[in-house]
């Protein structure tokens, strides 16, 4: 999960949109799988609005903002 997250962040910052969108799907899939297995249940209140904001940024093509949210808000939660 962390690997796909870091890949997404790097690709967004480099402007590699196609790769980043693909990596983002991998990350979301991994995160949801982890959540379903019981991980991150304490953090879901924190993560859900962030993911909404990231998806919204992705939708409008605001990739550097999406990268910031992923790197400085989501990644620390995942690493905890």
């Amino acid at each position: 999960m962390l690997e796909s997250l870091e890949q997404t962040i790097t690709q967004f910052r480099l402007g590699m949109e196609a790769g980043a969108n693909h990596s983002m799907i991998s990350f979301i899939d991994s995160f949801l799988a982890a959540f379903k297995s019981g991980k991150f249940s304490a953090e879901v209140q924190e993560v859900q609005p962030l993911l909404q904001e990231i998806l919204s940024a992705q939708e409008r093509g605001d990739y550097l903002f999406a990268a910031d949210l992923l790197e400085y808000q989501i990644a620390p939660i995942i690493r905890r």
Partner: protein, 435 residues
Amino acid sequence: MDNTVFQTNQTILKERWPKIWQEMTSAPVPEEVQLAIDLPEATLIINGIHITGCCNQMGEAKLQSELVPEESRTATVYGFGLGDLQRVLLERETIEELTVVIMNPGVAYQSLLHFVHADWLGDKRVELIVGHETETVQFPFAAAPGCLKLADDRAATIKDQVYLELARPFQKEQFEKRSDELDKRLEENLSYIKQDGDVAHLFGTLHGRPAVVVAGGPTALQQFEWLHQCRQDVYVVATSTALIPLQQAGINPDAVIIIDPRPRNTLAFEKADQTELKDVPLVYLPTVSSQVLDIWKGPRVAAYIHLERFVRQAKQIDRGFLFCSGTVTHAAVDLAVRMGANRIYLVGADFCFPDSKSHMDGAMQKIDVNEFQGFAHPWVLNGYGQRVWSRTNLVGYLRDLELYISHNERVQFVNLGKDGAQIAGADWMEDLEDA
């Protein structure tokens, strides 16, 4: 706004690049401009797009600069940004020339208003150009993604080319995932290649007769009445996606071409009226489904495209090559050119989603474009100068076709269907005197 910062920026620009300065000051002001200073690091947010990240701009710039190899003496930066990417590259003593391409003069002007740029603008190694002055990506390069996203219409071609280059590593990775499967398919179809015709035998057979390439784009249906009227005067090459809608409109092509290996084409070909196609050659790439080849009752003609597996195969079984960088439309156009057409009409070569449709009604390969909602999509300009949303691969196909057209000056290309993408090098039908 810090007037000193702006004045200093202005002085250098006016002195070194007066024409660019002029363009910047007369460029349209973006609709929404926000100077975001309540963030860890200040940045500009223009039309909802952050020009840079706002947490570690220098770290971000260093990452972006890694696309330029350390030993490079020249480099190009696509996007003005806030200047950090330029600074990081100029720190390298190896850099002798740095070209900075302004993707949107109006956006760059906003950056000049609020952020220091005089340091890097004053560096003698820097050359500044505007996006519409260049159509070819210069290597090595790095890009400011926020500025790419905000490129203006005039910089559309170079923007697309940069995006295509940035997408190459991902495309290569995706392509390699299917490589074993396609190698196996080629092996399975060897018996077909051996017994079937060679596309090279079709080359030169049109002797200057005009041809119509019918691709599967949504605007194709609008041209069928015209095609009915001139049917006897033109040679019609149909892509696999266009076959069923053409037949439903009572038009049978002179040749059909298929490259797509996916099984969905079998269904499409099963619906075709084979009695009308018994003399129509099917030009195929040998990685297509063998079921499609079995269904076809007319002559079959094998062709290769310039990929390693086919170059390798050609050493065993020689067949003609067609140009194709991913879409059957390319191969169809090249077929018509190689056959000797003097004018090629492009029908349904839309490379975008007019009316949010992927293909013309009746095409079996139609997809639900709503699947792509949720991702920011690239755009192309249609025949009316309007932006129409598209996909990265379609934009890539469009730009590659434009490059192909520029290399085939003896052929006139005519584009029908102004709701689809403008194709540089192709005249609009309405603009022809002898249409």
